[in-house]
């Protein structure tokens, strides 16, 4: 018995070694993406196929995880030698990844044409401390989507320009009995809630950190949370928003059960697809509203970039793959679920065809993008804020107290 056990272990080790070592000359790179919002899995696979056709000596192994797993997977893969070569990263992580040397500094590899061609707002996605840690890929913010048919039935002429107006219009819809709870948000205890909150913070002119200290517990930061709580308590917001992620919001909106919804770019073309959506052709999109005297629109920077990991054994091929994926040609071809990072694409009729409304909203929204705080301790800050948002919504704490506690627990 001992012998068979030894044999089994030996076989295991040998086979393991055989699998781990590169068997052929062609270069194999592993890339990590997310299966959520923005480009669909099918899009990414198609783009990658185009790349490998053009570069037959490189094969790309694709891996998709939910957004919630993206950060942890990337960090964990650092521990091993042969993890991912290319990773997708959110705008909030470069500070942490740079500090912990997860990503390679690619400042020198970026050509002047790239620098001038890509929208300045997109670059903030990959920058930390004056250096660039990858290429922006998904340029995204949260827009206000509305159901044209419901607004029309309620006698509303134009979508709201301010958050106060949004509340009024929602009340009209509610009072007319068109929908019991007209607004849908993604307020689950997750990063999604912070994106909605940040949108409101930008509208109220608030800020997160000043001189290294949290300041969201007063001013615009507090106003933003108060708005969320009021909207929730008044019954204008779908109470289930507190367990929604983006996909739940899309499901509700597509089913015609929300008049207003805050969501990313990708919802526009998906909700307009009659195959899957009951509201196809009735989808309106505008930049998220502003606040009288403080702002005209609001937006959160929800962009993401592609970077080369410091453990990659094929950084050159990895970079080649990234430049292909982020090239204007590739991005223009797949501009339905995520808009290009390239400035001139927005005036390209091939890109805007059939989604003129979205492009118009994007031109305003993308210019107003407000960043979530840049700090290596972002995860802790975000977790503390998520708790504050949920406790306030559930009435377990007053918004000012909840935010004060969050500031204390933020690790800053």
């Amino acid at each position: 018995m001992l012998k068979s056990m030894q044999t089994a272990l030996l076989c295991a080790t040998l086979l393991g070694a055989a699998l781990a070592s590169p068997a052929h000359a062609e270069t194999r790179i592993n890339a990590l993406f997310m299966a959520q919002a923005a480009y669909s899995e099918a899009d990414v696979r198609a783009m990658t196929d185009a790349f490998t056709k053009a570069n037959p000596d490189v094969t790309v192994n694709l891996e998709f995880v939910p957004y919630e797993g993206l950060h942890d997977k990337t960090v964990l893969a650092q521990g091993s030698g042969g993890g991912y070569d290319v990773v997708l990263f959110d705008v909030i992580w470069p500070a942490e990844y740079a500090t912990n040397k997860v990503l390679v500094d690619v400042t020198d590899k970026i050509t002047p044409e790239m620098t001038s061609g890509v929208l300045p707002g997109a670059w903030t996605t990959v920058e930390y401390d004056g250096k660039r840690y990858g290429m922006p890929w998904i340029l995204d913010t949260k827009y206000l989507f509305y159901n044209k048919e419901i607004l029309e039935k309620a006698g509303i002429k134009a979508p709201p320009k301010t958050w106060a107006e949004l509340a009024e219009q929602a009340k009209t819809i509610k009072d007319k009995g068109l929908l019991a709870t007209p607004i849908a948000w993604s307020w689950s205890q997750a990063e999604a809630a912070i994106c909605d909150y940040t949108t409101l913070v930008s509208a109220y002119g608030g800020s997160f950190i000043k001189d290294g200290k949290p300041v969201f517990q007063t001013g615009g930061g507090l106003d933003a949370l108060n708005y969320m709580v009021d909207s929730y308590k008044s019954g204008l917001t779908n109470p289930n928003s507190k367990e929604f992620l983006e996909e739940d919001v899309r499901r509700i909106f597509q089913n015609g059960e929300a008049a207003f919804a805050l969501n990313w770019t990708y919802m526009y073309n998906m909700a307009n697809d009659p195959k899957d959506s009951k509201v196809a052709g009735k989808v309106g999109v505008v930049p998220a509203p502003g606040v009288d005297g403080k702002s005209t629109v609001s937006a959160v920077n929800g962009s993401m970039g592609l970077g080369v990991t410091s453990t990659s054994k094929h950084p050159d091929e990895a970079w080649k793959y990234i430049t292909f994926m982020t090239s204007q040609a590739t991005q223009n071809e797949y501009a339905k679920l995520s808009l290009p990072i390239w400035a001139t694409s927005y005036d390209d009729p091939a890109v805007s065809k059939g989604q003129e409304e979205l492009i118009a909203a994007a031109k305003v929204g993308l210019a107003a993008m407000y960043p979530r705080p840049t700090t290596p301790k972002y995860q802790e800050l975000s977790t503390a804020l998520q708790q504050a948002v949920q406790e306030s919504l559930l009435g377990q704490a007053k918004p000012e107290d909840a935010l004060k506690t969050a500031a204390e627990n933020s690790g800053l």
């Binding site: 001992l2 205890q189 367990e243 802790e380 949920q390 559930l394």
Partner: protein, 293 residues
């Protein structure tokens, strides 16, 4: 054969098990203990020695205390519910009725369902907009409007416990059933002749046969409930407002999301210590009940 030789032979037979366990469990555990006294981060810094700082910080923090209470309630309520329903189901399955063998075979269904599938299934059932639970209760007129089962702190933990219990009570039932079938028929028959009531028959005739196997099930389930991760990770990730965050989720957050490998390790060891204390207490109970019967 001398007892010395027997002992040597025993050790030799145990060698494969011990080697595997020391390599894959022993060494990482030692390393975790080392990490727990450092401020090491998951990537980047190796960390330096900080003594008991991590432990002091965790034990005095409200996060740990709140999470401990949540874990305690989850473990106690889900295990208690599983034991009671499991034994009742076993008593039923030991009766004669049409389709008994079919029902006995079906008992394995929930338990064989992978935890992640179970969690996903119940998340769909509890879905606030399109879930089957809301639809069913509404059609029976038991609720006024759709409810957010996993979104309210008042119902989230209870909903998780029900999902966990549904999956695990069949295990208790199968164990108890096997024990029941070992009860000699003539003994129960004799007690019937003696005119013993149903309860006293259960308590004094059947229970002694059940006690041992049930204790085993109780220990296993309690330990598992204290370590619970999967079902909560899939269903709520600890929300809403951290009302379902258990110790394992907290450790994951500390060590992986926040990358504080050092304090994550201390927290993990505190959890380990708690589970150990529980298990030792149970072991003492088992020994006592074994001695009594």
């Amino acid at each position: 054969m001398t007892s010395n030789w027997l002992t040597t032979r025993a050790w030799f037979l145990m060698l494969p098990l011990l080697i595997v366990m020391i390599a894959i469990i022993g060494w990482p555990l030692v390393d975790t203990v080392r990490l727990s006294f450092t401020d090491a981060r998951l990537v980047g810094t190796e960390g330096s020695f900080v003594g008991f700082d991590n432990y002091v910080k965790i034990l005095s923090g409200t996060n740990f205390q709140r999470t401990l209470v949540t874990t305690f309630w989850f473990a106690v309520l889900s295990v208690a519910l599983e034991m009671v329903i499991g034994v009742l189901a076993a008593l039923l399955l030991n009766q004669q009725f049409y389709g008994r063998s079919v029902l006995r075979a079906l008992m394995i269904l929930p338990w064989a369902l992978p935890t992640v599938v179970n969690a996903t299934l119940w998340r769909l059932i509890y879905n606030p907009e399109y879930g089957a639970l809301n639809a069913m209760l509404m059609q029976f007129g038991m609720i006024e409007g759709y409810r957010s089962w996993l979104g309210e702190p008042g119902t989230a933990l209870a909903s998780l416990i029900i999902a966990d219990c549904w999956k695990n009570f069949p295990l208790v039932a199968l164990i108890a059933l096997a024990a029941l079938q070992a009860v000699p028929r003539d003994i129960t028959a004799a007690s019937m002749v003696d005119g013993a009531g149903a309860w006293s028959r259960f308590r004094f005739v059947i229970m002694p046969y059940l006690a041992g196997p049930l204790m085993v099930a109780l220990v296993l389930r309690t330990i598992e409930a204290f370590k619970v991760f999967d079902i909560i990770w899939v269903m709520t990730r600890g929300g809403p407002a951290n009302s379902t965050r258990t110790l394992s989720i907290l450790v994951y957050q500390e060590a992986f999301s926040f990358q504080r490998a050092g304090s994550g390790a201390s927290l993990a060891l505190i959890v380990t210590l708690l589970v150990t204390v529980l298990a030792v207490a149970y072991a003492a109970l088992i020994r006592k009940s074994a001695g009594a019967s």
